[in-house]
Symmetry: C2
Subunit: 321 residues, 2 copies
């Protein structure tokens, strides 16, 4: 059994290419194919397949429908999020509602959610109830996270705890759910499934904190995006929330002044630097990577499987793109 | 066992009122509650419960989760349809995207679809796979129907067969699916479940054809809406499609002329009258009611259950509102 990102993600790519869709209204699935073929990290299906492989030592083809289901669900949330955020670009290409229109994005997204559910259900009868329940609970958590994220946009008094709770729901439960479903498919005990859930949850928080960090402190040449977008959008990231709480009104005053883009980024970064948020954000992200690694310490698995999960967890909080 | 619309729909109303939702992001569910409490015919859960009762003679409480699931799914489709159609009113109240905003309508709709799926899955393990599959296939059919409906808006050459296929998907498969799930919950054989599917399918077409008829020939005092909305919107109903095909260019010329609302309705109705579409549309709808009744002829059930299904089928094509 090979444990590498390349191996698992290549298997997912092939399976995505071979997906077939209902044919009565083929235009319904054009945006679906477009979205799925525009790539991305495939992190969720990779997690699901690697957990399945590590716990069962069986052929990952057995859990491929669920892996595709989780990837399609993730892409459905991006599709609807892009409509809600009025985003123009996703992975360097026009978003679905720009390339087609908003209605196509809404209805094709709906079809993706149901299609994800169909793929999830393609599993042995003895695991159907558990897979289903985990998938639906996970999905509901993601919507709750998205709802909280939208509510936070209109609030200036969001606390760090609230922020962590929000990203747990919006980002982490899906990684956690992917791990759990992999464990359920491998017929692991509920205890093991729960530990892997905790692994995914901590991994997701590390991943999101690093995302916030990269947007402000990343190297644009490697990150592949302009730096400072979150600051310009006044996005309630860990950095902004912490600085609002600790800068004694300074950051709030800068935001209220509303200077030009370049000056705004510079001055906000000045506040972040004084509060040492660069290192503190990194340290916090790394502590979650560590939590992830500890969550699976007691689970028996091959050495190269464990190495893979440790690498993945470390990478979440140290990656440069 | 009581077989009446009032009995089944009252049971659904009570169950809707007692629904509880996750509490982490309560605002996510405000539009859900608003949508569900604004009433409607509850036709789909009534079908599901009545089929369950007729085939099992057991307490309808046993199938209530699935009945609620199908009603929530239906309301989810209305919620997203209203966004796509930019509709202002639904059942006499502002639509969700008007009362809140478009983003609330999108994300709350997504949550409704997953919530419907959760309720569907609350069923004995031996029926879970069948219920799930029927629900997902039905949902996919509804999106395909909605997609075709949107595509038809931009086409002038839609045939009557294409129209019937579209309303089958957009409206009828959900009634058919409701009947099937009721049958599955009652542990009926696949043959019986299929006959009830056909009953729901024919019932749905009768229902939709009567809807088209009412919008043009109905009595506004009883119908509760202005007459002629479909004509003004140039909606591709059975009436418009048939008249476009049979009026030798006359209807197309009237539409191209684009006269004022009142004149447009009068002249289009003039064409419909000359082609005798009032009677022909009624006769076609009634033929589908008849088909529905025949579909369940060979199924054994109590006399008052059969009477209920026959009444429901006849009412679909003869109702005045």
């Amino acid at each position: 059994m090979e444990y590498s990102l390349e191996y698992f993600s290549a298997a997912v790519e092939t399976a995505v290419k071979n997906l077939s869709f209902p044919s009565t209204a083929p235009r319904l699935f054009e945006p679906v194919r477009y979205t799925l073929e525009s790539g991305g990290k495939r992190l969720r299906p990779v997690l699901l397949l690697s957990v399945f492989a590590a716990l069962s030592r069986r052929d990952i083809a057995e859990a491929m429908n669920q892996a595709l289901g989780i990837e399609i669900f993730h892409n459905f949330t991006l599709l609807h999020d892009d409509v809600m955020d009025k985003a123009d670009l996703r992975r360097g290409r026009p978003t679905v509602h720009r390339r087609w229109n908003e209605n196509a994005a809404i209805i094709s997204g709906d079809a993706m959610l149901t299609y994800a559910s169909m793929l999830m259900s393609k599993c042995p009868a003895d695991r159907l109830a558990a897979v289903n329940e985990c998938f639906n609970t996970t999905a509901m958590g993601v919507y709750e996270g998205q709802q909280l994220d939208m509510e936070f946009e209109r609030r200036m008094n969001v606390t760090v705890d609230e922020y962590i709770e929000m990203i747990k729901l919006k980002t982490s439960v899906l990684l956690a759910g992917a791990c759990s479903i992999g464990a359920i498919m491998a017929e692991a005990t509920p205890e093991i499934s729960e530990k892997l859930y905790d692994y995914g949850l901590a991994l997701g928080i590390a991943f999101q904190l690093r995302d916030d960090w990269l947007d402000t402190f990343g190297d644009p040449a490697i990150f592949g995006k302009e730096i400072g977008g979150d600051i310009l959008n006044r996005k309630k990231t860990w950095l902004l929330i912490t600085a609002l709480g600790e800068s004694e009104g300074e950051l709030a005053a800068i935001l209220a002044e509303n200077p030009t883009d370049h000056i705004l980024i510079e001055r906000v970064r000045g506040v972040y630097d004084r509060l040492n948020l660069n290192e503190r954000c990194s340290a916090l992200a790394e502590s979650y990577s560590q939590k992830a690694i500890e969550a699976i310490e007691s689970i028996e698995m091959d050495a190269d499987a464990r190495r893979f999960f440790i690498e993945l967890a470390k990478n979440a909080s140290t990656r440069s793109h």
